[in-house]
């Protein structure tokens, strides 16, 4: 129902000053309902642009993106987004941030207060409801952002390097929390990252993108057979083989991206 299809999407970035840049060149990709797909690639390969196109924040100029068979035409509540910089409203408290989308939905007051409280508990922020984002750590901020996005019950979660600004320990904890949330209420996830291990650990499939102009270079199945989790899984042969394979693909592109800049 919430499957996603990119077909031959091209995008040219036009900076206010300077020459237009071809950011994406004929990207085609299908994401199944409730599948977790990571977009992996060197910085500047257009993977975030692809996510913003899917989000409807920038218009699709060439090619087509459909969600559940319908073409994307502007932002929509069924596609929730989480940004690397958290993008919380700094003048709103934790509670007010989470409430925002529910107010837009026109949900009754009692109901939305209850739902907000549930979400605060889901992301382990009980006791911080009345804190402002500036009073929270990076990990806590991202948990608020995830709760705010989950509040409106999107079918698809768009994540733009959501854990890229966090330290390694916090990131590992967030991975577990995200997987736990997904087990409870599965969603289709498109997850942008340049961290190979993160991609393999979280995703069912990893789409490796080439250096600019971005294309899908290879799609690697990363649904692992092992039942291990956490530290244990990271030690398995299966996990590390996938990481090695993807790392080689990404490294080639990163070198190409370097060359293109010089």
């Amino acid at each position: 129902m919430a499957g996603i299809s990119f077909s031959e999407v091209r995008h040219t970035y036009r900076p206010p000053r300077g020459k237009p840049v071809l950011a994406l060149e004929s990207v085609s990709l299908d994401v199944q309902d409730r599948e977790f797909v990571a977009l992996l690639g060197p910085s500047g390969c257009g993977k975030s642009t692809l996510l913003y196109l899917l989000g409807g924040f920038i218009p699709v100029e060439s090619g087509a993106i459909t969600v559940g068979g319908k073409p994307v035409n502007g932002p929509g509540r069924e596609r929730g987004i989480v940004f690397q910089n958290f993008a919380l409203f700094p003048w709103k408290t934790v509670r007010q941030n989470i409430l925002y989308g529910l107010e837009k939905q026109g949900m009754a007051k009692v109901e939305r207060e209850k739902r907000t409280q549930d979400l605060v508990e889901l992301v382990h922020l009980k006791g911080f409801e009345d804190s402002y984002p500036s009073q929270l750590s990076g990990g806590m901020k991202q948990r608020v952002a995830i709760a705010r996005t989950l509040a409106v019950e999107p079918e698809i979660l768009l994540m733009d390097e959501p854990f890229g600004a966090l330290d390694a320990q916090t990131r590992a904890l967030m991975h577990e929390e995200l997987l736990a949330i997904m087990r409870r209420a599965p969603k289709t996830v498109v997850f942008v990252t340049h961290d190979v291990r993160e991609a393999v650990y979280l995703a069912d499939r990893v789409a490796v993108m080439s250096a600019r102009p971005g294309r899908i270079k290879e799609i690697v199945d990363t649904k692992l057979k092992s039942n291990a989790r956490g530290e244990e899984l990271l030690q398995t042969r299966e996990f590390n083989d996938r990481v090695d394979h993807l790392w080689k693909l990404v490294r080639d592109e990163a070198i190409r991206a370097q060359g293109a800049h010089e």
Binding site: R79, G80, F89, Y100, Y132, Q135
Partner: protein
Amino acid sequence: MSRTLTLETAARRGSLIPLSTRLARALIRGLPLILVAAGWQIAPSVGLISPEALPPLSAVATAWWGLLMDGSLASNGVSSLWEVTAGLGLSIVVGIGAGVLMAWYAPVDAIVSPLMKSLYPMPKSALIPVMILWFGLGAGSKIASIFAGCLLPVVLSSYNGARGVDQSLVWSAMGLGASRRRVLWEVVIPGALPEIMAGIRNALAISFILMVAAEFLVGQNGLGYLISFLGDGGVYDAMFAGVLTVAAFGFFADRVYLLLMQRMLRWRE
């Protein structure tokens, strides 16, 4: 954790520091002012400066009391306050509207921006005679002058503030179901508020300059008028009392504004 936080806040506010230390600190902070006041009193009294050029502080204080009792401070102060409030208030409303719309809608920017840029370097006090010509000798011309002088700092800070609002905040709101118009009210303006409030603080200082300047030129009422009237009449102790009153007015207005600003932006930490 919350306990240490409270303690820190309390320490910052000074309630844990002994009273004697706090008094000593206040004295040290006030010392330069006390020295100036003492010099002001002594220099004219011993003939170091002519009392004509600088009447002793005690004489100024006596004259101030006289102005207070005969009601001239109240009546002129009220009209000055009204001009500043009206002129500044108008510039805030119009300025925020213009600045934010310029930042949000390219066509508005294209039309208004060149006007703003060409008016920017112009000293706004030069407009006072024009305003007198258009609005007459009453409060209208003074309000218009203050409005004209305060408008640009508010427009520019609103414009810059609105442009500086993070794209991801706007997109987050839209993704959560807000329309473009709601985003303007609920994200762009609150996001721009720190810059807008800093711009308004500049405008507040400018409003006092223009208020006094306009009242110098248009002799009917106001604290500026009182100063120039007393100066022309050679009543210098009272003239200085008027100058001090305007200075105190400006100082307290800024302090009150700062408190308001801290309160409204308390989320910033």
